[in-house]
Symmetry: D2
Subunit: 305 residues, 4 copies
């Protein structure tokens, strides 16, 4: 089956399942998204792009943005980063503070909220506005698309309701694991979560993770081969909070989900895949998105296992 | 570099590190193992076998045996198994009872002790002696080697000192998630842990996991392709307790460690690998064993990421 | 209001509330107890005994027996006991194992199950049968009543279903905080829980706690004044598991509840009080028993606060 | 022994122990307090005041202020308060956030930090400045001393370093258990902690708790008899965080400690006692302060047990 047939089959098979799950409703900008959206984009290392459904509609990437800031932090700090954040699955919800107390302010991994706050802190050097600019620039360059922006309404709403993240950030600061001001770290974090990308843009922007850290289409160095592999490993063990094991089990690809309903998946050596369906399951990942990736992995035999 | 050179290089590179870590000393049979042992065996899907060091010295497989009983339970129960045990990383130590209380007696995954006790319980039908016989038969058949046995001294010692496992088993029974008698389940578990295999035998016995569930050398069906993939996924996210993320990060292969110093790793589609070095790190995996697999993965580029 | 009027008023006020709560049903001998029973006995330091309702019907004292074994262990070991068990409220359920793992096998206090198992272990010297005999002798002497016995059916049922306690005992043994055999410790514990006392006997047997460690009616030394005070302190902070704060708040007396529906309360310098009503609340204390003691404390102004 | 002899004896017996423990050093105003201070004041229900040592030197009351705001909240809300905060010992450190996550934002009791933040929130009606004014007015009235003030340097320092409390407050807000603005609640809390009282003032201000809610010297109604008893009960089970059981065990009086080195203890029906020694033990209570109260309780036989 060629890739366009895969995408078409997945799109068709998902029709019956749409409107499952519950759209994130903690901010108006997410609550009003139509739950019937479904988008899929596959970008291969050879440069083929296959799309299906609403693959060109931008959505809020939310936690998927952690993959980009993690890449930036590894480029900046290298292994020093691992002094401030672990690389183990947390076994807990995305915003859990329990483990943070038990483990004295060292987040389990950079893909849970607490870890992403530490990552944001490491990028703060020139002040929050500059850091936000650098994150946007990083994603534009990785996606080879200068039109990518942050949704300002989402960023503002996140800031107004982000008490749980403010709790985590203050906790990290109390434990000495934030160096910048709490407000600055939160500002960066809320803005990165508000990055708006379509499936096409998201899959394109993460293609470097499928191809050893280098963008195979432009030749741009994004990160080293070893770091690309390690980011993939982290996505495999920790990319879906307390549903990471289930995703590995069902899909068999490194992935990262966001509460906006998007999921990024990487088939190393083959392709970068983005799927979007706003209805969420109990652990905060797109219900139909996981199904779609499970189907796609079965059709392509791209499981790494 | 061909595989024999890989094995030789790994063996040589590890010489400087031997005698690191601390040999398990909770039972005499493990405590008296010479910490300078190092063995490595690679068996490819094409039937090539490469060994280095003490690859023919049998050691106590301990928790690695959980991979075999999990395979047996999936063949017997299919997806019914997942009603009694989860498939998420635990984020906790191998013998933790905390999560068991929080989650009402459903172990996080079948590769922690509590999960393996439930798996053993599902295999109990004909009584503990019969079940132990079936486990040995399964491993002999998978390894195509009728000489494999259980070390009776280890099994007895485990039973005499296994209070933590007895605590877990009684807890599971109290929550209704053991159906057999506690003593029977423990007897099976202590015996499976006492399975004695050399690196060569261990790598050979798990080759079905590298080749879609079928032994590529004998054609024997061991499990389905999907189950083989899923067992690999579980090893990736949960095969090393609270060091699973680190193993995925450094080695990039599904693996399962045992407190006897052995580690099994699977390179899907390529090979099954067994390494043995008795000195353990703080989380209970072989210190030099992990290093050796990291080196091997770098030399072969077999990381799945 | 004199004490007989207090008892009569409490009895009358409780009529409307009987049959509230749920009788413990984990063993048949408890499950078949009529939930409409209500008994009350007050024995003052001056020797006055006032009863109401079913004050002469024996019931299973269950966890209330921990007060007696604690007294015995303090007499035997003195402050050495506190090396093996703490004296802080646990903030957890009576049979929680979580804190035991976090705190390396040292139970929070001697009035939760894990703590009582350690206490039982300290009394084991002459073997379980001898220890059980000593416990019965202690209670008979404290109650000045040679007819007190253990209900053998309850003891046997406890042993057959006590998997959670077996889990705790094995855990304590694994952490080195049981010195005797697990089976022996459990045998003592299950038997002490099966002590059958009426309200009259129970109140009488604990009178030493209201009068500085000496039985004011016989002059028998049971424990020192300081230890009596400290046992009362422990009952105040920890006598009702995760409802201890509520009991202190509502009743204002040191107390100890049992899953058989009995509650012992001490008014230091004044009286020992026993109440019995089999229906339990969510934390395992007698629902109507707590109400009755709250009413009694209001009528007598015996709250220590 | 009359009370002046008791005070003199305690003062003398403590000399050998002074400079034990470590002065709180998280803010300069506390760090520079001379650890050799020791003060003691006893105010009886009959109006006798006995002091020893530095009983007229003001110190930072810190968490002891929670007793006053709790009284205010109970007067304002009555039993409604218990819908937002529990009354069980927490079994955890004073600033733990773990239980808050497990129990969905309902603090275990009003004497841990999280609980005191909720209490502060209930007092916020007229804005933070008005609330702070009301708290000062309450304490002045209770102490019959218009000179009592807040130390502005301490209040400011608390605000600048109070990340852990900010974490708790944001967490409570995220769970819907703060109604006011996080910044307002924190402002009230940091100011109440900065109340500066001498031992003489502190003992005098809490005399209503020893005498059924009414100031026995002025006749002023502060709270009801039942609420006074219940506040005492809460101090007994929860007044010293995870050392509450130990305090009950050793001293036998309801008490509340503060990180400034002060401890308030109540002998119901007899006296209110304040002690101050800045060196802290591992759980954050004054080391010598607890010793002094243990000695005092032994000399006076005021233990409630």
């Amino acid at each position: 089956m060629d890739l366009s047939d895969v995408a078409a089959t997945v799109l068709q098979d998902m029709q019956a399942h749409l409107v499952q799950g519950r759209v994130a409703d903690y901010i108006p900008a997410l609550a009003r998204v139509d739950p019937r959206h479904f988008g899929l984009a596959i970008v291969t290392c050879e440069g083929e792009t296959v799309i299906a459904g609403d693959a060109d509609v931008p959505f809020s990437t939310q936690s998927i943005s952690k993959v980009f800031t993690l890449t930036m932090a590894l480029e900046k700090l290298g292994a020093e980063l691992w002094k401030r954040v672990g690389r183990e699955p947390s076994g807990s919800a995305f915003n859990s503070i329990v483990q943070l107390e038990r483990e004295r302010g060292v987040p389990r991994n950079p893909l849970i909220n607490a870890g992403a706050l530490v990552v944001a802190d490491t990028l703060l050097e020139g002040g929050p506005a500059a850091t936000i600019g650098e994150i946007v620039a990083f994603v534009r360059r990785a996606a080879d698309d200068a039109s990518i922006t942050i949704d300002p309404e989402v960023a503002t709403s996140e800031a107004n309701t982000g008490f749980r993240n403010a709790s985590l950030a203050n906790f990290l600061r109390a434990e000495g694991n934030l160096h910048g001001a709490v407000a600055d770290v939160l500002r960066v974090y809320f803005n990165q979560c508000a990055l708006a990308l379509s499936c096409r843009q998201l899959a394109r922007s993460a293609l470097y993770l499928a191809s050893g850290g280098v963008d195979p289409l432009t030749g741009t160095h994004v990160t080293t081969p070893m770091r690309a592999r390690r980011i993939n490993a982290l996505m495999m063990t920790s990319g879906h909070y307390d549903a990471s094991g289930d995703f590995a089990f069902r899909v068999g690809l490194p992935g990262k989900s966001g509460v906006g309903g998007g999921i990024l998946a990487i088939a190393p050596g083959r392709a970068s895949i983005a799927v979007w369906s706003p209805g969420l399951g109990p652990q905060g990942s797109s219900l139909v998105g996981v199904m779609a990736l499970q189907r796609l992995a079965a059709l392509t035999a791209w499981s790494v296992f």
